[in-house]
C-alpha cells in the first residue's frame, strides 16, 4: 500500500463575534487506500471536498484528525525533503499556476533548487530532460509561460511536479481547462508517464468519462463524506448509491442510446448547515423517513463500499 488514509477530517471553524462558532466539515472521516502504480479517481460536485482532500494530503492544509501513511510511514514522521519527493501535485489552471516572471526551466527546476544541492547548471540540464519527457522541445527552456499554449503550460506543470521523482502525483482537475483534442494529448502523456515511472495517481475530476477511462478505483464524495468507493467496473457499470447513479445519468455523452432521465432536483446543501441524517436525503429519489434521522455508514456491498440504507 503506497498511500493509506484513515478517517481524515478537516473542519474549518467559523467564528463571528458575539455568535457561537460553527464548524464547516469540509472533510468528515475519509478513508481509502491506493496501491502502487494504480490510479484512484475522485469525483463529486464542487464543494464536496475534493480539493480540500488534495490540499490535506499535500500538507497545504493542516488536518483536524486522522492519519495519512505513505509506504506505511506516518507523513508527520517523514523529513521535509522525503515528504516532498513522495508526493507532488498538478494544478487545475495552467494559466494561474505558473509564475509569469519565470522562464520555463526556472519553473521546472525550482523544486530542485530548493530540495536538492544541484548546481544551477545541473538544474538547467535536468529541466531540459524533464521537458523532453513531457513532450516539449528543450529549446523552449528560455521561454516565459505566456509564450506557451494551454496544453503546453499543463505539460510544464507536469514537468515541475515530476522534478523530484515523486511516488504519488495528485492531479487536481488537470485537463478541465483544456480543449478536447488537447485534453486527449495530456491524458495520454499522464498514462505513459505512469507506466514509465511507476507513478501512483490521485485523479480528481468532475468529468466522469475522463475518470472512468484512467482510474482503477473510484471514490465518489458528497459533502465531505464518501458515498461510494470501489473498483471502476463496479462503481460505473453497476452503481448502487442513488447519488452515483444520478451523476452518471446526468453526465452528457455522445453515445447512440440517449438516456432519457429526470434530472435530480435541488443543489448541494450548505456545509454550514448540513441536513440531518444522510446528507443526500433531500435530493434523493429513494429517501425514506429513516434517511432524515440516521446517518448511513460505509458498508461493503457487492464488491464496493457504499453509504446508503436503501441498497
Amino acid at each position: 500500500m503506497i498511500l493509506e488514509v484513515e478517517n481524515l477530517k478537516k473542519h474549518y471553524p467559523i467564528t463571528k463575534s458575539f455568535k457561537e462558532s460553527a464548524l464547516v466539515k469540509a472533510l468528515d472521516g475519509v478513508s481509502f487506500k491506493v496501491t502502487k502504480q494504480k490510479t484512484l479517481g475522485i469525483v463529486g460536485e464542487s464543494g464536496c471536498g475534493k480539493s480540500t482532500l488534495a490540499k490535506a494530503l499535500m500538507a497545504l492544509e493542516t488536518r483536524t484528525e486522522g492519519s495519512i501513511k505513505i509506504e506505511n510511514k506516518e507523513v508527520t514522521a517523514l523529513s521535509k525533503s522525503d515528504f516532498k519527493s513522495a508526493i507532488q501535485m498538478i494544478f487545475q489552471d495552467p494559466y494561474s499556476s505558473l509564475n509569469p516572471r519565470k522562464k520555463a526551466w526556472q519553473l521546472i527546476s525550482e523544486p530542485l533548487l530548493i530540495n536538492s544541492k544541484l548546481s544551477k547548471k545541473a538544474c538547467f540540464e535536468k529541466a531540459c530532460q524533464l521537458m523532453e519527457k513531457v513532450g516539449l522541445r528543450p529549446e523552449m527552456a528560455q521561454r516565459y509561460p505566456h509564450m506557451f499554449s494551454g496544453g503546453q503550460r499543463q505539460r510544464l506543470g507536469i514537468a515541475r511536479a515530476l522534478a523530484l521523482h515523486p511516488k504519488i502525483l495528485i492531479c487536481d482537475e488537470p485537463v478541465s481547462a483544456l480543449d478536447v483534442s488537447i485534453q486527449a494529448q495530456v491524458l495520454n502523456l499522464l498514462m505513459e508517464l505512469q507506466d514509465e515511472m511507476g507513478l501512483t495517481y490521485l485523479f480528481i475530476s468532475h468529468d466522469l468519462h475522463v475518470v472512468k477511462h484512467i482510474s482503477d478505483d473510484i471514490l465518489v464524495m458528497y459533502l465531505g463524506k464518501i458515498v461510494e468507493y470501489g473498483p471502476r467496473e463496479k462503481v460505473f457499470d453497476k452503481p448502487l448509491h442513488p447519488y452515483t447513479k444520478a451523476l452518471i445519468a446526468s453526465s452528457p455523452s455522445v453515445s447512440i442510446d440517449k438516456n432519457e432521465h429526470e434530472p435530480i432536483s435541488g443543489e448541494l446543501p450548505s456545509p454550514l448547515n448540513p441536513p440531518t441524517g444522510c446528507a443526500f436525503h433531500k435530493r434523493c429519489p429513494m429517501a425514506t423517513d429513516r434517511c432524515a434521522v440516521d446517518t448511513p455508514v460505509l458498508e461493503t456491498k457487492d464488491g464496493r463500499s457504499v453509504a446508503c440504507f436503501e441498497v
Partner: protein, 322 residues
Amino acid sequence: MLLDVKNLNLKFQTSKGVIHAIRDLSFNIKQGETLGIVGESGCGKSITNLALMGLLPDTADLTADKLEFEGSDLLSLKEKQWQKIRGADIAMIFQDPMTALNPCFTVGYQIEETLELHRKDLSKEERKEFVFELLDQVGIPAPRERAKSYAHELSGGMSQRVMIAQAIACNPKLLIADEPTTALDVTIQDQILKLLKDIQAKNNMAMILVTHDLGVVSENADRIQVMYAGEVIESGTSEEVIHSPKHPYTRGLLDSLPGNGDTSFRAPLSSISGMVPDLRFRPSGCQFNPRCFKSKEECSSSRPMLNQEDHQVSCFFPLSEG
C-alpha cells in the same frame, strides 16, 4: 426563416496585422429549432454571437451578403434600433452567471430593467408581479424573497436561472446560449438544460446553443455545426454529425473523447496533432490541412467550400459513412 446569415466576414485591425476572425460564415435557423455550435476555443463561436447581438467592439469590421432576422436587415441597424431588438427579440445567456449579473443591484431589479425597457405597456406593479412569475417559471423557490437577493447570495445554478429569467422576460424569438452550463456541476447542468428545453417548447423559441462539450450538443441540439478557425466545416442534424461525421476534424474531436471510440480501460486516446492556427497567419487552402491525416496536395493549394447537401461538409476528401 428566422435568422439568415450569408457569407459573414469579420475582421479585426490590430497593431500586429489583420485578424480574419470569421470567414464566409453562412447558416440559418428556423423557428423553434435548436442549433448547436461546437468548436475549440478561439474558433469564433463567441464572436459570432456578439455579431448577432450587435455587441461587436468598434474595432471590428463586419461585412455580409445577408444578415437578416425575420426578413429585416440587421447590418444597417443603428445603435438605437439595436437596443429595441436586443433583449426583446434576440436575447442571450452568458457563460459565467457569477460575473454576468451586476453585484450592486438585486436580481429582481435586474430582471425588471429588461421589462422596463421593452414592455412599456406594463405598470410598475404589473412589472413587479411579472418578475415573480418569471422567477417561478425558471424554478426558483420562494421567488418573492429571492427577487430581493443579490448575485453573491445565490449559487451558480440559481444565478444561471436568474439569467435565463432575464433572457426570456420579453419572450424572445431567438435565444443565444453561450456555454450556458460550462461553469456548473453536472447535476445542475442537467437541470438547466432541461429547463431551457421546456421553455423553448413552450414559447416556440429558436435557440443557438454554443458549447465545447460534444455530449451536451448531441443530447440537446436538432442541428449541429462544427466550426474551425472561423469557418463552418461541417453542418447537419445532430445524428448525422455525431454518428457519421464526414470531416476529419469532427471525427478527430469525437475520437479524442474518453468514453467514445476505444472505451477499453486506459487505451491511448486518439488525439489531433498540432494546434489551432494563428488567425493572423492562416495556412493556405483548407485551414485544417496541417493537422489532417487525410491531407493531400490539393488541400494546401485550394480552399474547400461547404457543399450544398443536407449534411454539409467542406472537405475535398470527406469520410464515407460508417
